[in-house]
Structures are given as structure tokens and as C-alpha cells.
């Protein structure tokens, strides 16, 4: 930390903190037009280098990790200070792509379950802009049944030897470490034989491949492990206690997706492609500014978009005051997908043929976006899993039948190969 800025004291009020943040931001951070943010394609290298650089500035200025404990490089302040900083930072370029998963999921989980050494090293590393963290959870053999992973970690001498494959890891190519769930005991039921490891992505024994999605994005990666060797210091939580760690990740992920994490810093779009659809502009470009039918469709999408924001706030406070259980985060998760679908469907309807043939005005991008519509209902756990969670853990309905409950994992039926 540089000497130019004094560290905040416990006695500094939220308003004083916000005033200091505004002054510091004005002197140190690049300004942007919030309606037209710079491109931040998570599939490219450059935005990640830029994000690390911006994060370093935040850290040096004393505004990184506002809600992370001081001993791990944060400021140890309540969420009100983070919200005040978010408001003050509107209109400045911030390292938004580091929020999820690095801070809101990975660093938050390491804080909950990591060793003292892991917390000191990786949380402060991330806050300094030196480390990008990712999750290595899903596998090619199955997505929703996370506890059924078959990547194996075998004990050989004083090392762990990893073999298997992971997929759908966001931007792993740009990351330094990944939280990787592997099976360490095959003779016990599935949840009891898992261990979480913190894996250096650039290790020998890891082959990384980009996944190209329907919309051309290459932000997601697939990793193959061939006799990757790790020491005991890579274990997060205890050996065979990996499900507890993974559950914390899922918990933090649900909160992060809904916009309810105190570990995220900054508000607004990550980049141009993340900007909300401007329906007024879309109606004008498609020559339908006077069409009542088109205005009605657009109005409905705007209504649902507004309700989504109101619901996030309502659920966040409901969980906080206990009127809703923590699993209610899944309500936001399903709503997120519903709104996403409605918006893409609406844009497809409004653009009509100019959304599918490139005539002019770049309206074909709405047709292209539509092609990957389902990502919102798949990422971070499917809509179907989220509805199971709402049924079982919010409404208290009986759990789904599971053929593998209580069965040693090596006796559980798996995919026909």
C-alpha cells in the first residue's frame, strides 16, 4: 500500500468514507460513460490484464476488499461502506470482471473454509490484483449432479495425483488458481469422499482447451488432468470434506448471481455486450416507433426487468431479516433466467427479419444473442435444479428420490460409455 492515502479507521463514518472515495476516484481512476462502457469480453486476454491493473490501483489506493477482513488485505468494513463506494464509483472504470467468480465466490469460500496460510496468500493476492481465481467444478460426465464428480485424486507417497477432466470453468485461461473438486474416497457415499484442492492453473499435467459457444464466445474452458501432482498444502478444508467447501461455493454463487454479495465492488455493466437492451432505440431502428404492438411488447419486457430488480432487493432483505430462508436465493436465480428469456424473445420479435438477415443497423446481433438464450437457464446450476431447491428448501416439500443416496460411490450406476 502506498503512503499517499491513509488507511480508513473504524471511526470513519459511511459518509466520510464515501467522500474520501469520491476524491480518490476522481484523482486516480479512469472515467467512462456508464451508458457506453469499454468492451470487456471475458474470452480475450486484454480485459483481464486491464482488470489486474485496475485492481492494483484500488489496492494501492486503499479501496480494495472493503468487506474482506483487514488481516487478509481488506478493509474489514460493513456492507454499507461497500454500497457507498459502489455509488461513488459510478462512471469510473472498475475491474468488474474480477467480481465473479474471483471475489464473490472463490475468495469468499477460501475465507470460510481455507487455512490461515491460504487466506493470507490468496485473498490478499486477489485483492492486490496478482491472482485471478476460478472454479473447477463441472465435469463432462454431468453438470447438475455436482457431488457425483469422477475426477480422482489418489494418494501416492506424500503427494496427491489428479486424473480426470473439468469443464465450464469461466475464463480459466486467464486465472492463476482454481478451486477443484475431486474424489478421494470411492468406498463411501458420494458426498463423503470428496476433497477440494486449490490448483495452480499453469501446472504441468494440466491441458487447457477453450470451449467455443454458439455465440462465438470462448470465455469458458475445459481442463484435462494427467497425473497432476499436488501437495497437502493444496487441500482446502479437510480431506473428504470437499462437499462442505463446494456447498459454500454454491451458496456464494447464488448470492453473487442475484447481486447480493458484499464482496462485489462496483455496479453497472461489465462491458458493451452486458448492456441492457435499449427498446426505444430498437423500435426506432426497426421502424416501429409508432407500432402499438411493438411498444406493448417492449413495455412488458421493461416491466419484467424492473420487477427483477425489485425482487433482488426484496429477497436480499427477506433473507437478512429471516422472513425468507437462505435457499430463497434460488428465487432470484430462476427470475434471472426468466427475464433473460423474455428480453431475448422480445428483441427477436421486434427485430423481425432484420434480426436474422444482416440488412443494416447491426440488428442481427439480437438474432445471434437469441441463439444462446438458454445459457441463463443453465449457468450456475440449471433452472430445474433451482426449482427443486425452492420446492424442497423454501416450501419444505419432500426431496426428490436419489438412487445414489447412502450408496458407496463405487456401486453407483454411472453413464453408459
Amino acid at each position: 500500500m502506498t503512503e499517499t492515502t491513509s488507511a480508513p479507521t473504524q471511526t470513519e463514518s459511511v459518509d466520510e468514507f464515501a467522500a474520501r472515495a469520491r476524491a480518490w476516484l476522481a484523482d486516480n481512476m479512469p472515467r467512462i460513460d456508464p451508458a457506453n462502457p469499454p468492451e470487456a469480453d471475458r474470452g480475450e486476454e486484454a480485459p483481464w490484464l486491464r482488470a489486474r491493473e485496475l485492481q492494483k490501483k484500488l489496492y494501492d489506493g486503499g479501496f480494495a476488499g472493503i468487506c474482506f477482513p483487514r488481516e487478509y488485505g481488506g478493509l474489514g468494513l460493513p456492507i454499507a461502506y461497500q454500497k457507498a463506494f459502489d455509488n461513488a464509483s459510478r462512471g469510473y472504470e472498475l475491474p468488474m470482471i474480477l467480481n465473479t467468480p474471483t471475489f464473490t465466490i472463490c475468495a469468499a469460500t477460501i475465507l470460510d473454509t481455507g487455512s490461515e496460510e491460504q487466506k493470507r496468500r490468496h485473498i490478499s493476492g486477489a485483492l492486490r490484483g496478482d491472482e485471478v481465481l476460478v472454479q473447477l467444478l463441472s465435469e463432462p460426465s454431468g453438470g447438475s449432479d455436482l457431488a457425483g464428480v469422477i475426477t480422482r485424486a489418489d494418494r501416492v507417497g506424500d503427494k496427491w495425483v489428479i486424473n480426470g477432466a473439468k469443464t465450464w470453468s469461466t475464463s480459466a485461461f486467464a486465472a492463476d488458481y482454481g478451486l477443484m473438486l475431486a474424489r478421494t474416497d470411492w468406498d463411501v457415499p458420494k458426498h463423503e469422499g470428496l476433497t477440494m484442492f486449490l490448483v495452480p492453473i499453469n501446472s504441468p499435467g494440466i491441458t487447457l482447451r477453450r470451449i467455443k459457444q454458439v455465440n462465438g464466445s470462448v470465455e469458458f474452458c475445459e481442463e484435462f488432468f494427467d497425473n497432476l501432482e499436488l501437495g497437502d498444502d493444496a487441500v482446502v478444508g479437510g480431506v473428504n470434506e470437499g462437499w462442505h467447501v463446494a456447498s459454500r461455493q454454491l451458496y456464494h454463487e447464488r448470492r453473487a448471481v442475484g447481486g447480493g454479495s458484499e464482496f462485489a465492488s462496483g455496479i453497472g455493466a461489465e462491458g458493451k455486450t452486458d448492456m441492457p437492451i435499449d427498446y426505444v432505440d430498437l423500435l426506432e431502428k426497426s421502424g416501429q416507433a409508432d407500432s402499438e404492438r411493438a411498444r406493448g411488447l417492449a413495455g412488458r419486457a421493461l416491466v419484467h426487468r424492473a420487477v427483477r430488480e425489485q425482487l433482488i432487493d426484496h429477497v436480499y432483505h427477506g433473507v437478512l431479516d429471516g422472513s425468507l430462508p437462505p435457499a430463497a436465493g434460488s428465487i432470484i436465480r430462476v427470475m434471472h433466467a426468466e427475464i433473460h428469456h423474455l428480453e431475448f424473445d422480445t428483441a427477436l420479435a421486434i427485430t423481425g427479419s432484420s434480426g436474422v438477415v444482416d440488412v443494416d443497423g447491426d440488428l442481427i446481433r439480437y438474432g445471434e444473442r437469441y441463439l444462446s438464450r438458454q445459457t441463463a437457464a443453465l449457468g450456475g446450476g440449471t433452472t430445474e435444479i433451482a426449482k427443486n431447491i425452492i420446492g424442497e428448501r423454501v416450501l419444505g416439500f419432500p426431496r426428490e428420490y436419489a438412487a445414489d443416496r447412502g450408496v458407496p460411490f463405487n456401486q453407483v450406476k454411472r453413464n453408459k460409455s
Binding site: 412488458r300 426484496h314 427443486n388
Partner: protein
């Protein structure tokens, strides 16, 4: 909507709730329906004594609210009314009061009689054959030597046959104005209109050369659009709040049904297809509550975004409410479509409110227009 930290409001809520449970139960609703009575005037006077009619009225005009936030308190009453789809003219009386308290000159006595519950008033705003368009009346108010002469027809006037006075929107000298017209003024004729609700009654009102004094005008011509906006907001948030109360109750007993009812040796709630349907209902319910709370807060604060917040809520709650009730009918099976089961009592009210004071389709257009105005203003 409920501020649990405020003990006075909790007391108000529990008094209102026990009054409703005792005096406005679902079986009472069925009795009133069978007798063809929309509500009993004495019952309404007792409801007014509990404070329901004073919430929007400043203390100087004889009103007052328990929490200091009258709109929120009123929305709470509406939500509790939803739990038993109680009868009564809460919506028309509150809507008229919302206009009068913002332009009370010459109307102090009317306000007092409405607060006491002695008198019922209703907003005569809809016109035959026309959709929701409160700023475009065709009823005319022609200047006379002593005031105005009102001519034209209004319809869909809630509690029209039970009202002693109407707040009538009309064209007067090229501007929209509002007038208080007594129901017994010569030239006024009331024809009842039935609704799909068990007890809510409506009426068509003919005004044939009805003479009123200058003092019958409510507010100035300049003031009138803002009064109409405020009255619309109150009417619409009350609908949303009542629907939230209805959905809360119906979801509760439908969830219980899912746990209690067994088929093939399993509770209905254990079937994934039904579990997912229930999850949808829970999501939409919380969203209805969230958007209603936001609208109530915006109206209470007289926020510049109140029009937008109310139209968002009215559209969303109107779009989802009736479908959610139908899903609950489906989850109940055949019993759900019988007269004997209470589901239809709730379905009726929710369907009525979907379509009154602007359909979701109307409000979607409104939200688009407001968004466009905001964009061109920035």
C-alpha cells in the same frame, strides 16, 4: 409493506385482521352474495371507526394514520382484506379521498362524512364503450350562471348504487376537471351493473343536465391532471396490495393441500412436475409482493417515479395474479372448479382487478411511454 418494528402499526394490523376474520369471513361473503347485498352500511361505519378511512386524510382535516405513512397503512388494510376477499367500498372511498385531500377547499364536510363512514363516494371515471383513459372524458361540464351543468354517462362506477356522492371527471371549457355530484341531484340516474365478483357492485350513471354549484369543482384546471394521477395511483396500488393478500392466502392453503393430498401413496408435493409448478408460484408471489411494496413506497413518498412504479406493479400483478389462481385450481383438481370450494371467491376478485383501472396491456404501453420520456429528458 409491513413495518414490523412499529408496535402501533402491529396493533392496527391485528385489530383490522380480527375484525375481518370475525365480520367479513368467507361464509359471510357467501351470505351477502346470496342476499344480493354488496356490503352493510353499518359494517362499513364500524370499519371506518377502526381508522380505515382516515389514513390518507391529514389530521387538520380530521384524519391520521398510525405509522405516519398513511399510504402504507392503507395498503396493509387492502392486503388484509384480500385474505378473506372482504366486501366494502375501501377502494372507491380511498380514491375519492386521495383527490379531495389534495384540493380540500369547499369539501371539508364531504371529507368528514367519508372519514366517519356515514357516506360512501365513488370515482365516476370510466365511460361506456371506452377503455381506461382517465384524462379523456367526454362527459361535459358546461358553465352556468351559478356553476356547471353536467351531461353524459359514466359506467363501471364501483358501489355506484350505494354512493351518496360521485367524483365525476368531465370536459369543462377545454380542460379536464372533476366535480362532486350528489347521487340525488335532479337529472342523475343510477343503473346497477353486475361484476364477476361475489359482492363488488358497479353502476352506470346518467347525468342529464345536472346542475351543480361552482363549489362542486375539485381543484383547479391546472391541478386536475395531478389529482387524477394521484387517484389512479391509489386505486391501482390498493388493487395490487389486495391481490398480494389473496395470493398469500391461496398459496398457503394450496401448499398445504400439496402436502396433505396423496396419490399413488405419495403426497402431491413429492412429484417433481408439481413441485416445479409450486416453485413458479412462489417465485411469482415474491415478485408480486416486491413490486407492490416498491409501488406503495413510491406513492407514499410522492416520488417522481411513482407513475412508473405503479404501472410496473399493476402490469406484473395483473399479468400473473389470475394465472396463478388458475394454477392453484389445477393443483386442487376437480374440487377447484366447484361452487362449494372457496377458490373461485379469490379468483373472481383477482380477475376483476386485472382488468379494472388499466389492463396489464395498457400499463405495458404506459411503461414504454414513460421510459421513452425519461430517455429523451436525459
Amino acid at each position: 409493506m409491513t413495518d414490523d418494528a412499529n408496535p402501533e402499526r402491529l396493533l392496527f394490523a391485528s385489530t383490522t385482521q380480527s375484525f375481518l376474520e370475525k365480520e367479513a369471513s368467507l361464509s359471510r361473503l357467501r351470505e351477502l352474495h346470496a342476499a344480493g347485498i354488496p356490503f352493510e352500511p353499518d359494517w362499513w361505519r364500524r370499519a371506518a371507526e377502526l381508522g380505515w378511512t382516515s389514513l390518507l386524510v391529514p389530521e387538520a382535516l380530521g384524519g391520521g394514520s398510525v405509522s405516519g405513512d398513511g399510504v402504507a397503512d392503507l395498503a396493509l388494510v387492502a392486503e388484509l382484506i384480500g385474505k378473506t376477499v372482504a366486501p366494502g367500498p375501501l377502494h372507491p372511498v380511498s380514491t375519492v379521498l386521495a383527490g379531495l385531500v389534495d384540493a380540500p377547499e369547499n369539501h371539508e364536510a364531504t371529507i368528514e362524512s367519508l372519514v366517519s363512514g356515514e357516506v360512501v363516494a365513488s370515482w365516476a371515471v370510466y365511460e361506456p364503450g371506452k377503455p381506461w383513459a382517465p384524462l379523456h372524458p367526454t362527459v361535459t361540464a358546461t358553465s352556468t350562471e351559478t356553476g356547471f351543468r353536467i351531461d353524459g354517462v359514466k359506467d363501471r362506477v364501483e358501489a355506484g348504487a350505494e354512493s351518496a356522492v360521485f367524483l365525476v371527471t368531465a370536459q369543462a371549457d377545454g380542460a379536464v376537471r372533476q366535480f362532486l355530484v350528489p347521487a340525488d341531484a335532479p337529472g342523475t340516474r343510477v343503473e346497477p351493473q353486475r361484476s364477476i365478483d361475489m359482492v363488488k357492485s358497479y353502476a352506470r350513471i346518467h347525468f342529464d343536465g345536472v346542475e351543480v354549484d361552482t363549489s362542486a369543482a375539485v381543484g383547479s384546471a391546472e391541478q386536475t391532471p395531478a389529482l387524477i394521477a394521484r387517484q389512479s395511483q391509489i386505486a391501482q396500488v390498493l388493487q395490487c396490495a389486495e391481490v398480494v393478500g389473496i395470493l398469500d392466502t391461496v398459496l398457503d392453503f394450496t401448499i398445504q393441500w400439496g402436502l396433505d393430498r396423496h396419490s399413488f401413496g405419495r403426497p402431491l408435493a413429492s412429484y417433481q412436475a408439481l413441485k416445479h409448478k409450486y416453485a413458479d408460484l412462489k417465485i411469482w408471489f415474491e415478485a408480486c409482493r416486491a413490486t407492490t411494496n416498491a409501488a406503495v413506497a413510491a406513492v407514499a413518498a410522492r416520488s417522481p417515479g411513482a407513475d412508473m412504479a405503479v404501472s410496473v406493479a399493476k402490469s406484473y400483478v395483473g399479468e400473473h395474479g389470475p394465472g396463478m389462481l388458475q394454477d392453484c385450481v389445477q393443483l386442487h383438481g376437480g374440487i377447484g372448479v366447484t361452487w362449494e370450494h372457496d377458490l373461485h371467491l379469490f379468483l373472481r376478485r383477482v380477475t376483476l382487478y386485472r382488468s379494472m383501472f388499466g389492463t396489464p396491456e395498457d400499463h405495458n404501453l404506459r411503461v414504454y411511454d414513460l421510459t421513452k420520456e425519461l430517455e429523451s429528458a436525459s
